[in-house]
């Protein structure tokens, strides 16, 4: 059983070959980090998984079924920018997905249904450490808080696959460590497969269960258009990281810091969240 099965995938833009014969099977609940030099087609690959672009050749299966030709709620996404809606409050952003899913004409819920949804949204916000900012607009949040919000917004849809394109690239190292702890916890608790593009090798190796490297085998300027990037390395982290289980090597603490409280507090405490997660995980 694979969550995502990609076979002989090519992507060309006009004459330019971007991806060349990429094949990879991604198991359910794995956390794949995608690294590679700038311009090698990582974002393009993610867009293909999202359904935002169609492959020139090859095919993508999701849970054994062909990928729908357009983005849908089974695949969530967080970009480096533009992931949240500037015209909605933090709470409105998190409620938007479920509201639109339930109300196909107005895209809004009212009365008791709305209150229930708002409670669920508040719980999700608390889980990503945004409690207290519900009524702010995204422009009033820091970069790190905006990315937490984007994560919360995507997770409300309970996607099978979460796609992240350099989601933490613009954050400073301290904030990034906090949000890494959050990301790891979410991956452990929410039944989803994660594919994350990153430029930061350390981030790739601290978070992922598998690190995949894209590279152009031929990268001389005159060859660049005619040869795309291939999958050049595929590293499974040892000892294996499995979602829902921690290895003795995993730690949410930053090396060199002995006081874990600020991180844990910022990421929301695991203990509090546990009851909720069990209660609300519908998928097996």
């Amino acid at each position: 059983m694979t969550a995502l099965s990609i076979s002989h995938l090519w992507k060309e833009y006009g004459d330019q070959i971007v991806l060349e014969d990429v094949s990879i099977d991604i198991g359910p609940r794995s956390f794949v980090a995608l690294v590679g030099p700038s311009g090698c087609g990582k974002t393009t690959f993610l867009r293909l998984l999202l359904g935002q672009e169609t492959p020139s050749r090859g095919r993508i299966l999701i849970d054994g079924q062909p990928l729908p030709p357009e983005p849908g709620p089974d695949r969530g996404v967080v970009y480096q920018r533009y992931s949240v809606f500037p015209h909605l409050t933090v709470l409105g952003n998190v409620m938007l997905g479920p509201e639109m899913r339930a109300s196909r004409f107005l895209g809004r819920r009212f009365g008791a249904a709305r209150r229930a949804l708002a409670d669920e949204a508040r719980a999700m916000l608390a889980e990503v450490g945004l409690a207290g900012s519900e009524q702010k607009y995204p422009a009033q949040l820091s970069g790190g808080m905006q990315q937490r919000l984007a994560l919360a917004q995507a997770l409300m849809m309970r996607p099978r696959v979460l796609l992240l394109d350099e989601p933490f690239g613009a954050l400073d190292p301290g904030i990034r460590a906090d949000i890494h702890a959050l990301m790891r916890r979410l991956w452990n608790e929410v039944p989803m497969t994660v594919v994350m593009v990153t430029h930061d090798l350390r981030e790739a190796f601290t978070l992922a269960s598998r690190v995949v490297v894209f590279e152009r085998p031929r990268d001389r300027p005159e060859e660049r258009d005619r040869y795309g990037a291939r999958l050049s390395r595929d590293i499974v982290i040892w000892p294996p990281r499995l979602a829902g289980r921690t290895t003795p090597y995993d730690t949410d603490r930053m090396p060199g810091r002995d006081d874990p409280t600020p991180d844990a507090a910022a990421a929301g405490t695991t203990r509090q969240a546990e009851g909720r997660t069990h209660a609300s995980s519908p998928q097996p």
Binding site: Y82, H87, M100
Partner: protein
């Protein structure tokens, strides 16, 4: 210190802002005094007292023939036409601009046509409008609508298509249909821009209104100005021009504050 780094304080800025107005007033008064000294019956730059008497007659004395207060009757007639024109133009622009901004097929259908139509000089259409729609209110409102709608549509279309692609894709991953994307993602984000471009179109809207009123009407600010032009009645024309300008400024301020109140999020990011 470089000139680009010298910033006026609040008081200085106020004084500087008032300076051109004061200069204009002084220039008028001096010119008026000079001309009247030379020829007491000069009509071009009437004295302040003449202006005041004329304003009193226009705004606060009922007209002998109709019993109306001319200024207010003209204002009501003109503002009604303007409101219809702006309202119809804004609604049309919202629907068509949103359609073309959200759906590529509608964009392919509408964009070239709207671009073409926006180049038709509306005033050249005025005779046709009068012939087809008669000399009543319809043709005047139609001129305003024809004059400003294409630009509003194009502006909204550009604003809608300029929204980051990522945002639309994000909405798709949140299970939005095309309709819901238009309703909950694009519409709220283009509304502030619609109000702003409406503000920019107030000037042209008045232009078309006055042009239409000048040719055929029995009330209205433009009608009055062109009526008294024959008698060189500057003491009527000047107050009317000032009044029209003031109305436009007030309308602009009202729309701006409407935008601030309805879309507080648009201010946060500024």
């Amino acid at each position: 210190m470089r000139a680009i780094n010298i910033r006026p304080g609040r008081g200085t800025a106020l004084v500087l802002g008032l300076l051109p107005f004061a200069a204009l007033a002084v220039a008028y008064l001096a010119g008026s005094a000079l001309r009247l000294a030379e020829n007491p019956s000069d009509k071009l730059l009437p004295a302040l007292t003449t202006l005041a008497a004329s304003i009193d007659l226009l705004a606060f004395t009922p007209d002998r023939r109709t019993g109306d207060y001319l200024l207010w009757a003209d204002t009501a007639a003109s503002l009604t036409r303007l409101a219809w024109g702006l309202g119809i133009a804004a609604s049309l622009a919202l629907v068509l601009g949103l359609l073309a901004g959200v759906l590529p097929v509608m964009r392919a259908l509408l964009a070239p046509f709207v671009a073409f139509v926006s180049m038709v000089p509306p005033l050249a259409l005025l005779p046709i409008l009068f012939i087809v729609m008669g000399l009543g209110e319809t043709s005047k409102i139609a001129l305003i609508v024809i004059g400003i709608t294409p630009i509003l549509i194009r502006d909204l279309m550009l604003t809608a298509t300029a929204l980051p692609r990522e945002m639309i894709v994000k909405a798709e991953t949140l299970s939005a249909s095309s309709w819901l994307i238009a309703l909950r993602v694009v519409l709220p984000q283009v509304m502030p821009r619609l109000i702003d471009s409406l503000r920019l179109q107030i000037g042209p809207a008045f232009l078309f209104l006055i042009a239409a009123e000048a040719i055929s009407s029995d009330a209205g600010l433009g009608y009055r100005i062109f009526l008294v032009r024959r008698y060189l009645a500057m003491e009527v024309i000047f107050p009317y021009v000032a009044w029209i300008t003031l109305l436009a400024v007030l309308l602009d301020l009202a729309l701006s504050s409407l935008r601030r109140r309805m879309f507080p999020w648009a201010e946060v990011g500024r």
